[in-house]
C-alpha cells in the first residue's frame, strides 16, 4: 500500500526518528562531490505548487534529482490551474501520467487531504495553508539534533506569526512527540486561539518566551499582514517582537537561532543575529534537501 506524508500529526516518534536518521545518511550525499545515487531511478516526482516558492520547490527538485528520479515542476501560473481546473482534476491528470510522488503546496489548509485518497501516487505535503509543513519541521529537527545531539528535553521558543504559520504546527507535533518543550511568542493579533491545547505555552511578551531556550526559531512575517491591520508597522513589530542580540541573551548561552526563510532582515531577526555565529539558517537549507531525499526514498522503497 502506498504511503504519504501529509503532516507530522499522525506520525509516531519512532517514524520521525527513522526519517531523521535516514536523513543524516542522505546529508552525506548532499555534501559529497558526487551527488548522485540511484534510489529513485526510473521514478517520477511532480512538484505541484499552487503558491510561489523558490527554496522548498528547488529543494524537492534537487532531492529527487540527486536520487535519479525524473522531476517535473508545475506552478500555478501557466498551467491548467489558471484555466480554472479543479484541484481534484489536476491531481488525477498528473496521476494518470505515471507520477510516483506528488509533492504539493497549496494555499488552502487540508488541500492534500482532499487529493491523497484519489491518486495512486504518494503525496508529500510541501505546505498547506496554515496547517502543516512536515518536511520543514523535519529539517528543523535534523538541524537541532546536529547541534544539540537530541530533541528530548530541549526548550524551543518559536516567535512570530503563529496564526498563519504551518511551520509552527508541524514543529509542535514533531517536537512534542520527541519530548521537547515548546513555547510560542508573538503579538495577540497573530496568535491562534486556544493553540495551547496542543500542549504548548504561549506568551505575548517575547522575552518570556525566549528565557532559557535552547533553540530560538523566528517565523516569517508576511509583510502584507501589516496592510490587513494585524499589527501597526514593521518598525513596531521589530521593536516588540523582533529578535536582536539583547533579546537573544535571554536564551541559553549556546542557543541556536533558526528561521524557515526567506528572512525579512530587521523584521523577524536583526542582521547581526542572522549573520552571527548562533545562526544555523543556511544549515537548515542543507538539511532540507537531505530530509526530502529521506522522505521520498522511504515512501517509495519502504521503511517509512
Amino acid at each position: 500500500m502506498k504511503q504519504s506524508l501529509l503532516g507530522l500529526e499522525n506520525l509516531t516518534a519512532e517514524q520521525i526518528n527513522n526519517i531523521l536518521s535516514h536523513a543524516s545518511e542522505m546529508k552525506k550525499v548532499v555534501l559529497s562531490d558526487n551527488k548522485k545515487i540511484t534510489n529513485l531511478q526510473g521514478k517520477t516526482v511532480v512538484n505541484l505548487f499552487y503558491e510561489n516558492s523558490t527554496r522548498t520547490r528547488t529543494s524537492f527538485e534537487l532531492a529527487a534529482k540527486y536520487m535519479g528520479a525524473n522531476a517535473a515542476n508545475i506552478t500555478s501560473s501557466g498551467s491548467s490551474v489558471e484555466k480554472g481546473e479543479t484541484l481534484i482534476d489536476t491531481a488525477e491528470t498528473l496521476n494518470a501520467m505515471g507520477t510516483d510522488i506528488l509533492v504539493m503546496r497549496h494555499s488552502m489548509s487540508g488541500a492534500p487531504n482532499v487529493i491523497e485518497p484519489l491518486v495512486d501516487a504518494s503525496v508529500i505535503n510541501a505546505g498547506d495553508g496554515m496547517h502543516e509543513h512536515p518536511t520543514q519541521a523535519l529539517l528543523d529537527m535534523l538541524t537541532m539534533i546536529e547541534h544539540k545531539g537530541h530533541i528530548e528535553g530541549l526548550k524551543v521558543a518559536i516567535i512570530g506569526d503563529v496564526y498563519h504559520s504551518r511551520v509552527v504546527r508541524s514543529n509542535i507535533y514533531g517536537l512534542k512527540k520527541l519530548g521537547a518543550e515548546v513555547t510560542l511568542g508573538g503579538p495577540a493579533t497573530l496568535m491562534a486561539k486556544d493553540i495551547d491545547k496542543m500542549g504548548v505555552k504561549t506568551f505575548n511578551n517575547v522575552q518570556e518566551a525566549i528565557i532559557d531556550a535552547d533553540v530560538v526559531m523566528a517565523l516569517r512575517i508576511q509583510l502584507e499582514r501589516q496592510k490587513k491591520g494585524l499589527f501597526p508597522s514593521i518598525r513596531e513589530y521589530f521593536k516588540f517582537f523582533g529578535i536582536d542580540e539583547s533579546r537573544l541573551k535571554l536564551a541559553k548561552p549556546d542557543a541556536i537561532v533558526m528561521h524557515p526563510g526567506p528572512v525579512n532582515r530587521g523584521v523577524e531577526l536583526s542582521s547581526t543575529v542572522i549573520d552571527g555565529d548562533r545562526s544555523v539558517i543556511t544549515q537548515q537549507v542543507t538539511s532540507g534537501v537531505a530530509v526530502r531525499m529521506a522522505v521520498m526514498d522511504m515512501l517509495i522503497n519502504g521503511g517509512f
Partner: protein, 430 residues
C-alpha cells in the same frame, strides 16, 4: 375525499390537544378532532395511527430551494419532495435565487412553480434590499401583496444599520417580520468556529462576536422602533443570552436555531469535512448546551433547517473553497427527537410547537395547527422507531449532510398536504 386517522396520539399545541384520539378530514380540511361514533358506516379511508404521533405538518421557515437560477443544486420540486419525506408540509424559501427574489415577478414565479411542481406548501421570503446588495429597499409592499411572508437578505447581512432600521419600519406597515442573518462581515471572514479545532487545522476562525455584534444591533433597532425582528439560525451562547434578555425587556424579538447547532460541534470539521462547513459555523459544546437551554426555556422559538443544497463539486474540494451549508429537511424531526425530546430538553409537544405552530405565527400563515376548518397538513410518525440516515438516499437533489450514518428516531410514515396523502407508509404516493 374522507379520511379518518384513528387512535393516534394527537398533538396540536395551538389548540391544547395532547391525547389519543381521532382526526377526521373531509374535503381536504380538518373536519373534527375526537371520537365520533356517527362516522361508523361512512365510507372513508382509514389510517391506523395506534402508537404514533399525529401532529400538524411541520413548517420550516428557513429553506433554500435554489429555483430559479441554481436548479443544478435543487428545484422547488426536489426541495419540497425532500420536505415531505421529512414531515415538512410548508417551507418558507429564502430570496438568494438568480434572479434574486426582490420583486413581485419572482415571488409570483416561485408560487406558480410551487403550484405546478411542489409537494409541499411554499411561502416565498422576499429580499430586504434590491439584489441583496444592502443599498436600496426592495419593493417590499408589492412582494407582500403577491405572497411574500417575510423579508431578509439572509446570507448577505444588511451591514448598513440605517437600511436595516428602515426595513423594520417599512415592513411593519405590512405586518411582516424582518429576518436577520446576523453576521458582522468584518468579523465573519473565516472557515469555521474560532477555537482550538480551527487553530489545530489551520483554518481561519470565525468568532462568536461576528453573530452577536449584529444580533445586538438588530435587537436594539427593533427595541427602539417597537418593531419586530426575527434572528435567524442562532449558533452561540451569547446570542441566546442576548435574545433572552431582550425578551425580558419586552422587545418584539423572535428567533430560530437549526438542528446542527444542537447536534454537532466544531469537532465535526476535523478531517476537513466540508459537510460540517456552514455559516454561522458549528460552535463548541458549551454553545450546544446553551442552545438546548434556550430551546427549553422558550428563548428560542423555532427550529428550522437552513436547508442549503450544494452540488458535490462545491463540497468535494479544499475546505476553504467549499460552499457553506447543509441539507436538512429530511433529518430535522429525527434530530429534534433524538437530541431534544429523548434528552429531556423538550417535550414532544414543545418540539412540535417549535417546528409548526411558532414559525407559522411568526410568518402569519394559516399553518401549523389542526384547527377545524384549516386545510389538513399532517405528519404521522412513531417516535420510538429508529432509522439510519443514508445521505445517498436523500430525496433532495444534493446530498451534503454531515449526518450520514446517524441513528435517529421518528421517520415520518404518513404526510398529508392539503388533505392529500403524499407520503404513505414512508413512501411517496404515486
Amino acid at each position: 375525499m374522507k379520511l379518518l386517522i384513528k387512535n393516534g396520539h394527537v398533538i396540536d399545541p395551538a389548540n391544547g390537544i395532547d391525547e389519543v384520539t381521532d382526526v377526521y378530514i373531509n374535503n381536504g380540511e380538518i373536519a373534527e378532532i375526537g371520537k365520533n361514533d356517527d362516522l361508523a358506516g361512512v365510507e372513508m379511508q382509514i389510517i391506523d395511527a395506534d402508537g404514533k404521533i399525529v401532529a400538524p405538518g411541520l413548517v420550516d421557515m428557513h429553506v433554500h430551494l435554489r429555483e430559479p437560477g441554481q436548479e443544478y443544486k435543487e428545484t422547488i420540486e426536489t426541495g419540497t419532495l425532500a420536505a415531505v419525506y421529512g414531515g415538512v408540509t410548508s417551507v418558507a424559501c429564502m430570496p438568494n435565487t438568480e434572479p434574486v427574489c426582490d420583486n413581485e415577478t419572482v415571488v409570483r414565479f416561485i408560487k406558480e412553480r410551487a403550484k405546478e411542481t411542489g409537494y409541499a406548501n411554499v411561502f416565498p421570503v422576499g429580499a430586504v434590499s434590491k439584489g441583496l446588495e444592502g443599498k436600496f429597499l426592495a419593493e417590499i409592499g408589492d412582494m407582500v401583496f403577491s405572497g411574500a411572508v417575510a423579508i431578509t437578505d439572509d446570507g448577505h447581512p444588511v451591514e448598513n444599520a440605517a437600511l436595516m432600521r428602515r426595513a423594520m419600519q417599512y415592513s411593519d406597515m405590512f405586518d411582516i417580520t424582518v429576518i436577520s442573518h446576523c453576521e458582522d462581515m468584518s468579523l465573519g471572514e473565516g472557515d469555521m468556529n474560532e477555537g482550538a479545532v480551527a487553530s489545530e487545522l489551520g483554518l481561519r476562525g470565525i468568532s462568536p462576536s461576528a453573530e452577536e455584534v449584529m444580533a445586538s444591533r438588530d435587537i436594539l433597532l427593533a427595541e427602539n422602533l417597537g418593531c419586530r425582528v426575527h434572528i435567524a439560525h442562532i449558533s452561540t451562547k451569547g446570542t441566546v443570552e442576548l435574545v433572552r434578555q431582550a425578551k425580558k425587556r419586552g422587545v418584539k424579538v423572535t428567533c430560530e436555531t437549526c438542528p446542527h447547532y444542537f447536534s454537532l460541534t466544531d469537532e465535526a470539521c476535523r478531517g476537513y469535512n466540508t459537510n460540517a462547513k456552514m455559516n454561522p459555523p458549528l460552535r463548541t459544546a458549551e454553545d450546544v448546551l446553551a442552545i438546548k437551554e434556550g430551546l427549553k426555556d422558550g428563548t428560542i422559538d423555532c427550529i428550522v433547517t437552513d436547508h442549503a443544497p450544494h452540488h458535490p463539486d462545491e463540497k468535494q474540494c479544499e475546505f476553504g473553497y467549499a460552499k457553506n451549508g447543509i441539507v436538512g429537511l429530511e433529518t430535522s424531526l429525527g434530530l429534534g427527537i433524538k437530541n431534544l425530546v429523548n434528552e429531556g430538553y423538550l417535550t414532544m409537544n414543545q418540539l412540535i410547537e417549535k417546528m409548526s405552530k411558532n414559525p407559522s405565527e411568526i410568518l402569519g400563515i394559516a399553518k401549523g395547527t389542526l384547527s377545524v376548518g384549516r386545510s389538513a397538513d399532517i405528519v404521522i410518525f412513531d417516535p420510538e422507531s429508529e432509522w439510519t440516515v443514508d445521505t445517498s438516499k436523500l430525496h433532495s437533489k444534493s446530498k451534503n449532510s454531515p449526518f450520514d450514518g446517524f441513528r435517529l428516531y421518528g421517520k415520518p410514515e404518513y404526510v398529508i398536504v392539503n388533505g392529500n396523502i403524499v407520503i404513505n407508509s414512508g413512501e411517496l404516493m404515486k
